[in-house]
Symmetry: none
């Protein structure tokens, strides 16, 4: 009756288990169906927990969503960090390759990791209140690092706008395979991206971008016009 001892529920799980299971399941469901299309009931049924548990642990639906986003981000970046094993002293070509490979794998990778990508894609197109935080904590550091690599590749004194646009070109190519997945699937009957396809994609984007940025550097000395 009294909250004296560590309580376990009928199935003998600690509260933390319930919380984590909701987090995991909600990640899948949100990634698959989006925020609005997802019902708390579905999440709870999938997770095998009571329907009131979400409101208990996370306050409300939005609270759960924010928690999921944060959790997924941590998991993804722990597995695929920005530098992907390169040092800042390595040649910029190599660093760009590493960056792209890490980025593409992080958003397209199978299983647990891919959920992060899907969630982010949704956040892009239909921002929730979480986007501000996501931009500052996740996207800006990422973009800053990419910009520094691109700036180095462009040679001395590139215009900042050129750096920005080239960085955007790199990121745009990568993200395309994430958010256009449903279209690509229909265009080419290509169902899913396996590790092999992901590698090929990363290689292509790196090559394509290095060619382009190299030409910018050579012909214009990194300066437009």
């Amino acid at each position: 009756m009294f909250d004296t001892i560590k309580q376990t529920n009928v199935t003998g799980e600690t509260p933390a288990d319930t919380r984590k299971r909701i987090l995991e399941t909600a990640g899948e469901v949100f990634a698959m169906s989006g925020y609005r299309n997802t019902t708390i009931r579905e999440i709870c049924r999938s997770a095998g927990v009571n329907i009131a548990a979400v409101n208990y642990h996370f306050g409300n639906k939005e609270g759960l969503y924010l928690a999921v986003l944060k959790y997924r981000q941590e998991v993804a970046f722990r597995k695929y960090p920005l530098d992907f094993g390169t040092a800042s002293t390595d040649p910029p070509e190599e660093r760009l390759r590493a960056f792209i490979r890490s980025f593409v794998t992080r958003i397209l990778g199978e299983g647990e990791v891919s959920r992060f990508g899907r969630l982010m894609a949704r956040e892009y197109i239909e921002p929730t209140n979480a986007l501000d935080t996501v931009v500052e904590e996740t996207i800006r550091p990422l973009f800053t690092r990419l910009s520094s690599i691109v700036r180095q590749l462009l040679g001395r004194k590139p215009k900042e706008e050129t750096v920005r646009l080239c960085s955007a070109s790199v990121v745009g190519q990568c993200l395309y395979f994430l958010y256009a997945a449903p279209v690509i699937k229909r265009l080419f009957q290509q169902p899913e991206f396996g590790p092999k396809e992901i590698e090929a994609i990363a290689d292509h984007i790196a090559e394509f971008s290095l060619y382009a940025i190299g030409s910018f550097a050579v012909r214009k000395g990194g300066e437009k016009g």
Copy 2:
């Protein structure tokens, strides 16, 4: 600018008026909030028509959505056609520039046109039943045309996969500015894309892509590896 004469009295509107007004309003609301988040009540209230009018004119919510998609597509492509004034005999470099400019303007353009882009972006990230039709009727023709230009640029006998990946690189760069708009807005405090920014973006993408594809053509004769 002002509805000078057509409006006679409270109910005195041409039949087409109600239908079109729903179509216009729905385009805005769907583009802003997405299919699921949008209620037909809101559309009808905004359009100043009875809620049953949607059912009468379009059958149901999905019917309305499809009609909106088709309508927006027609408007956008009538204003910015695929070739954008180039002939198939023009040099591929010029055709690619025209394609990119037309494409970017169509999805980023202001006012009426931009709704098409937003609707498409949503369809990418959270497909409805309409996506199949959209892919076949809109996206595939577009991708086919782009591929033929890229194939020509790559020189003789390029691998189809290379064509596909390079086309994807072009499209990915363009779409990035569409779906990443909320992020870009936050990253660089850049509120909206005006005609000038759109032109700059189109120019950059064309240049970036022509450099890259040109390098592919030169160094590999269009063949990878």
Copy 3:
């Protein structure tokens, strides 16, 4: 513009045609689906007339229903009159047989006629405002005639309650095959009643009833207890 000449509609039909076609179609649909389940739209679509025609010709849905009921009743009784060719001087056994045959055929008969039966069955179980009229104009004359036959069969001075109950027994047997049709269909996999089955049913009911009423007459002199 002015109502000077006899107007015909696009298909060149006189107004009477439209009215009658609605009447016919509505009879089918009401009989099949019941009053509430039937929509004006469905009737008008089936009849190929405008949706406003019903309200124009019959005031509203209920007005149409009443008109249908009256129309069907006339058709059915014109084809299968009460006496079915017997005279009031004929022996009561023969008159009962004729009554039963006429009754059963009227309510079970195929095609046009059966619709009357179905409509009546529905009116029994879920009376509309039409029931009062139907009882006085259709059912009471019918019951009165049956009672006079039964009274004659029961011999001299039968109790009125006995007459009533025996008449009810006759009518009950007949109607059973009408309203229990969906159940009979499921119980015995017997899909529909053809002319042959109808005759067999009428014969059985007549025989069963004559045996029973005969026994009442013999053993009790028509008096109970």
Copy 4:
């Protein structure tokens, strides 16, 4: 009679209470107005529960209707079982009398029980998806038992068709007083059936049927023609 203690406060009801109250109220309303005419809003208002409770406890309107049907059936058959206190070794005349009395009381009886009859009557005339189940679980066993009694009464080797038709005659007489109630009420100004009238009806039907079946048995040895 009075809800003395169970009700503690506004929301303080046993979980089963809400469910059962819906079940009871829905039984009344469905019996009175039919499936289609009944709104779950009305049921919930009458039962004093929230409109979403139906969805929670029974899934949807049809689920509620099926639950009501099953519940009413149980109540009715618990009170008036098929055999009504007779053993299978009793003489068939007595068994038929018991069967008829039980049957008539079950469908005409006052109060709680009568709802079963009304629901069944509606199911006959305007079948829902529930009819298949009702026929197999309720009507067929009933008809089988009646047939075995009739078969015994008809003597040795009766034709199955004769058994069936005689059984139909019995059932038809009984049901008549159920579904024709609105008509009988108008024909004879007889408002309702009390226990006394019900007994008289049952006695008459039994007598009428025993006379008839007896005559079949005697004159034809149970064989027609």
